[in-house]
Amino acid sequence: MLRLEGLSKRYGDLVAVDGLSLEARPGEVLGLLGPNGAGKTTTIRMAVGQIAPDAGAVDVGGAGSPARPEVRGKIGVAPQELALYDDLSAAANLSFFGTLYGLAGAPLEARVAELLGIAGLADRGRDAVKTFSGGMKRRLNLAVALVHDPPLLLLDEPTAGVDAQSRNRLFEVVRDLKARGKTIVYTTHYMEEAERLCDRVAIVDRGRLLALDTVAALIRAHGGRSVVRVERPGGEERMESADPLADLQRVLKEPAVRGVHVERPDLETVFLTLTGRSLRDA
């Protein structure tokens, strides 16, 4: 659905994206996981044709480059920076952007009402956006991306700066979109989101693609073994385990064990292995 081939972008001496290639398959949620400054947003901007790559090519669903307006019509983008008209109402924002995508009349009104419901803003549709909380604005930002019901969605850090309630609502929306067959590229620097939502995850750092696979496969390939920590009266023992369940059963038979903790590898471990740095500290 979206193919990026050898994309590169440089701003002066700074290499933002460095030969990045990947493909988002139809109907999947592909995560772009990396720290701030990894090149995720620049990649999204090139994918939607907002900026031209210095090298490489973008293809959207076999239709070609998003530099062409008709190709951009297949994409819905929720940018990281909230891009809404604060003085207009939520409904007016949706209606305006819907018009730009060719909607009009009753279908547009129906779509606006539907999206207000999806965003949990049905009772605030006529209120000016400037009166909304950060979470409400973030949900509306996503709803605008959906206004023309595009087959491909590019969601750039869609949960940045929102509360837990809005975050859960956004997760529900993403899962629902996936269930309806949408292809979603989801950038985040939260590994928990990537693990919960994404079918496959591309780990990027300093503009380069380091690994791309399912979460389980990435952990198997780069996460290393689980760690079992056993607390005894004399102190704590820490041991790597290829089969933590078997080790757990064995340890629990010992009479002096006070506690047992199992640390399974996760995407944080994968990122640490691949870059030598922690995802949170990068």
């Binding site: 907002q50 951009r72 920076e81 008209y85 003085d87 207009l88 009009a104």
Partner: protein, 369 residues
């Protein structure tokens, strides 16, 4: 075209939420036109100028001097108060009076002999240095009053007759001061629109909506066309509203409505182009507003937007030709009271249209997405 209309409609709705923009687009021009219309009533004709307030100090105290003062008081050009010299000097010093005239001792004898070639009649004229034009006019009034007996002896016939002919006024002159001040005020409203829409483009860039528009399936030219259409329509609406007020409330009578429409459209095109250029002068909203308004005020200053061009020295009137404000005012005045023909309107309108095209092209080329 529907997307361009939608973009324009969005901008018009946003403008209605912009209180500062509404003030500079609508309220400020009205205040400007009314304020300057009131204080300049009279110079444009129709309003009836007020008499020059003067004091007369009669130190002669004769029947002849009393007769002279009576003749002087009949002149509508002056308002005469009698008082002693110290009081008169003090009131002129305080700015209450424009000047005082001292009729010295022996005035009666000198006046009679002056008719026969004797010594000239002398007055002392004390005037406010800031009101020299009125003092000069007062000299003429004094001479006329001195020779009033001679005019009476000639059966009331004037010895010299000067026919005044106001060339522009004979057909289409301003019927009142507001016909002069409203075109100036309208240009301020138009500049407010251009500045407001130019700055709104910068705001759209900084708040990210411009990037979102660029991701939509419409070319960048159409996005700018939408902004231009909104600016054009707003300028036309502001101009029409202000002219409507000028006509309905202040009695302005345009000479030609078709030519006025041409003048309004030309102004709208020119300042829509200037709006596009203003949008590239600053990266932030504050920078764009500061630089944009700085440039516009300068253009208004030299272009007759603050004081009428005919008051300016000749060298400044030459420089004014580089300001679109001059041509904007001329295009409106030409249709309202200068009685321009279609051919005469071609110059200001042509310059405005060309300026708009050049500025828009340049601004669109330099615009940073």
């Amino acid at each position: 075209m529907r997307d361009v209309r939608a973009l324009a409609a969005k901008d018009l709705r946003l403008m209605l939420h912009d209180r500062m923009g509404l003030f500079f687009g609508f309220a400020f021009p009205i205040l400007y036109a009314v304020f300057f219309g009131i204080i300049s009533s009279g110079f444009a004709g129709g309003g009836g100028g007020s008499a020059i307030p003067i004091a007369v100090v009669d130190e002669d105290g004769t029947e002849a001097s009393a007769s002279f003062v009576a003749d002087l008081a009949k002149d509508p050009a002056v308002g005469v108060e009698r008082m002693d010299r110290d009081a008169a000097s003090e009131r002129v010093r305080r700015g209450k009076l424009a000047a005082y005239v001292v009729i010295g001792k022996g005035f009666g004898d000198r006046r009679a002999k002056a008719m026969m070639g004797g010594e000239p009649v002398r007055f002392v004229l004390g005037s406010d240095p800031a009101r020299q034009a009125e003092a000069a006019m007062l000299q003429g009034v004094l001479v006329r009053a001195v020779f009033e007996p001679m005019r009476a002896a000639m059966g009331g016939r004037e010895p010299v007759v000067v026919e005044r002919e106001a060339v522009q006024r004979r057909r289409f002159g301003p019927n009142n001061a507001y016909a002069v001040t409203f075109p100036q005020a309208i240009l301020w409203g138009i500049m407010g629109c251009a500045a407001g829409f130019g700055i709104s483009l910068v705001i759209e860039r900084t708040q990210g909506t411009l990037q979102r528009l660029a991701m939509a399936p419409l070319g960048r030219a159409r996005i700018l066309a939408g902004k231009a259409l909104a600016c054009f329509l707003t300028i036309v609406a502001v101009t029409a509203l202000l002219l409507g007020i000028a006509i309905a409330v202040f009695g302005v009578r345009p000479g030609s409505y078709p030519l006025l429409a041409a003048g309004i459209a030309s102004n709208a095109v020119a300042f829509t182009g200037i709006m596009m250029l203003l949008s590239v002068v600053g990266k932030t909203e504050r920078a764009a507003a500061s630089i944009g308004w700085g440039v516009l005020v300068l253009l208004a200053m030299i272009g007759g937007g603050m004081i009428p061009l005919f008051v300016m020295p000749p060298w400044l009137q030459q420089i004014a030709s580089f300001s679109p404000v001059k041509w904007g005012i001329l295009a409106l005045e030409g249709a309202i009271w200068r009685g321009f023909s279609l051919e005469e309107m071609m110059l200001p309108c042509g310059i405005l249209l060309a300026l708009g095209a050049v500025c828009f092209s340049l601004g669109a080329r330099l615009f940073r997405w």
